[in-house]
Amino acid sequence: MRFSSINLMAVALFLLAVPTVQAQAYRAPRAADGHADLNGIWEALNTANWDLEDHSPTPGTMWETGAIGAEPAGQSVIEGGTIPYLPAALEKKKANFANRRTNDPEAKCYMPGIPRANYMPYPFQIVQSPKGILFVYEYASSNRFVNMGKPQEAGSDTWMGTNNGRWEGDTLVIDVTGLNGLAWFDRAGDFGSDNLHVVERFTRTDRDHLQYEATIEDPKTFSRPWKISMPLYRRVEKNAQLLEFKCVEFAEELLYGQYKKK
């Protein structure tokens, strides 16, 4: 194949242009539905599940396990740094914090709710099918199906919510309503009520990263909507797969131990 000088110039210009274009606007490969392909196994790599806000390291509540049970330090994932609680809600958060060893729904192996499911220290898999998008979480076998068709109104309240998805360009936007308000946001006792409304945005920023954002609105609990954001990382191991973390058994002593025959 022969190139004219004009073609060569065009190629050179294209090559020069590519890095800038990539830095500004990565174009994700397409999935079968024609939209950005978000299929994969993803996992957060931060301490948001310990505490969404800034936090120093502490010995934690499980002194029996020494440094293994200690809580690592971490920086806030919240825009503006702190959660804008209403006064009564802030008191409840403090009570949650004080009782977190036994009252955190994670300790009980309850479903994680949204947004917490996405930044627990377990991988999750996005299965982007032409019929809808399934989020499969390793933790507690929890999952949620995102309806990509005509939006559906929430029926009864649930842990994982009613999930209506849509595309804004290459960003998957999920509108989550019908949450039961029983899940916590982290091990520090942050929480929402059954009025909670979460709008999530998943954007693939390159081959191995998703940018995750969630706007959290709940006039019963917060003085204004607030936003968290963080990258999610692809599990790139060749043999990456979700394994089973059915934790009910691990929580039975905590939940029912007092009723055991002595």
């Binding site: 999935a31 079968a32 299929n39 009980k108 192996c109 309850y110 479903m111 898999q125 299965v127 982007q128 099918s129 032409p130 019929k131 809808g132 399934l134 499969v136 507690a140 076998s141 929890s142 999952n143 199906f145 029926g155 649930t158 842990w159 994982m160 029983l182 043999n239 797969q241 979700l242 394994l243 089973e244 059915k246 009910v248 058994e249 039975e252 939940l255 029912y256 009723y259 055991k260 025959k261």
Partner: protein, 343 residues
């Protein structure tokens, strides 16, 4: 392994099929047996070319796991037996519609039982289609010994959670158990993406993400309630081979068995599932249980799954709302305390 399907069973009765044909694939059998009846169905394809099994395919309650011994090798009910099954289903549905219990009725699951899914009666005699008598093959002596050591079917003993089965504890019904139809929340959803099939079960809430890339199983030290599944296509049939099971699950008529009942599998269990879409609205789900430490022969069940686009697949927050287990244990302790008091 025999590939026995529901269509095939019809032909078995239409003509006397030579045993050699048992191993023939269904289309071949159909052509030889009854060309007129055998319309070859081609399932739709996904955009990337896999047979498309996607949709919601609820289980259909009403076929017993094992066939009554008196029926022998007959796989379908007679008209008379079928009429009886229809009548029973109608009576159950009528009972479900009752809103208020008579004052002398003991407390149970209703009324009202509007949440039940009684299913549409079929002529299938038993879920087990192999062995040909529709009954579980004999257990191995080792499995029998374990069964004898475990207290028989739960009769109220509740010293601790392990006196109650995994279903009551909201842990799981297992890979096969999760598809065996029960009286409510029978939803099964199948979703596909390139390289994957997901089988999602409503009851308890399970999602098995099955890779199709022929990767090896996880290491033998890893055990899972639902096992480690690998899938591949054989023509239009999805074949799933699952290993790495725990030995804690039991496969019973309700998807699980009570502790001490037959059905507890060993870690050697190898489950082979075959899913074939035989028409737009039917997937024949066939599963072979191969566990030589527990059963002396492999056995196979067939569950025709019917598509229901209107089925409402709900969140089954079983463990989160498990008051029953707490009450079973607390009740047992309260009874003991009463007993002590009266002495």
């Amino acid at each position: 392994m025999q590939t026995v399907m529901i269509m095939k069973r019809r032909f078995l009765f239409a003509i006397a099929v030579a045993p050699v044909l048992l191993l023939a694939p269904v289309p071949g059998l159909a052509q030889q047996a009854a060309p007129a009846a055998a319309k070859k169905y081609t399932p739709p394809k996904t955009p990337w070319g896999d047979p498309d099994l996607q949709g919601i395919w609820p289980g259909n309650m009403g076929v017993p796991m094992q066939r009554p011994k008196t029926m022998g090798e007959r796989t379908e009910l007679t008209e008379e037996e079928y009429a009886k099954r229809v009548d029973q289903a109608q009576k159950a549905s009528a009972a479900d519609a009752v809103e208020v219990a008579p004052s002398d009725q003991r407390i149970g699951i209703g009324p009202p039982s509007y949440w039940t899914e009684r299913g549409k009666p079929t002529r299938q005699a038993s879920l087990i289609i192999d062995p040909p008598d529709g009954r579980l093959p004999p257990m191995t002596p080792e499995a029998k010994a374990i069964q004898a050591k475990t207290p028989a079917a739960w009769g109220g003993k509740a010293n601790w959670v392990d006196d109650v089965n995994l279903y009551y504890r909201c842990v799981t019904r297992g890979a096969l158990g999760s598809i065996i139809p029960v009286v409510y929340n029978n939803g099964n959803q199948i979703l596909q993406a390139p390289g994957y099939v997901v089988i999602r079960n409503e009851m308890i809430h399970e999602s098995r993400v099955i890779p199709l890339d022929r990767r090896p199983h996880v290491g033998s030290a890893i055990h899972e309630y639902l096992g480690d599944s690998r899938g591949h296509w054989e023509g239009n049939t999805l074949v799933i081979e699952t290993t790495n099971f725990t030995d804690k699950t039991s496969i019973g008529s309700n998807g699980v068995a009570y502790n001490g009942e037959g059905g507890r599998n060993s870690e050697a269990l190898r489950l082979i599932e075959r899913l074939t879409r035989v028409d737009d609205n039917t997937i024949n789900y066939q599963a072979t249980v191969d566990d030589p430490q527990t059963w002396t022969k492999p056995w196979t069940i067939l569950i025709p799954l019917k598509r229901d686009d209107k089925y409402q697949f709900l969140e089954y927050a079983c463990h989160e709302g498990n008051y029953a287990l707490k009450d079973i244990l607390a009740g047992a302790r309260a009874q003991e305390a009463e007993g002590k008091g009266s002495k």
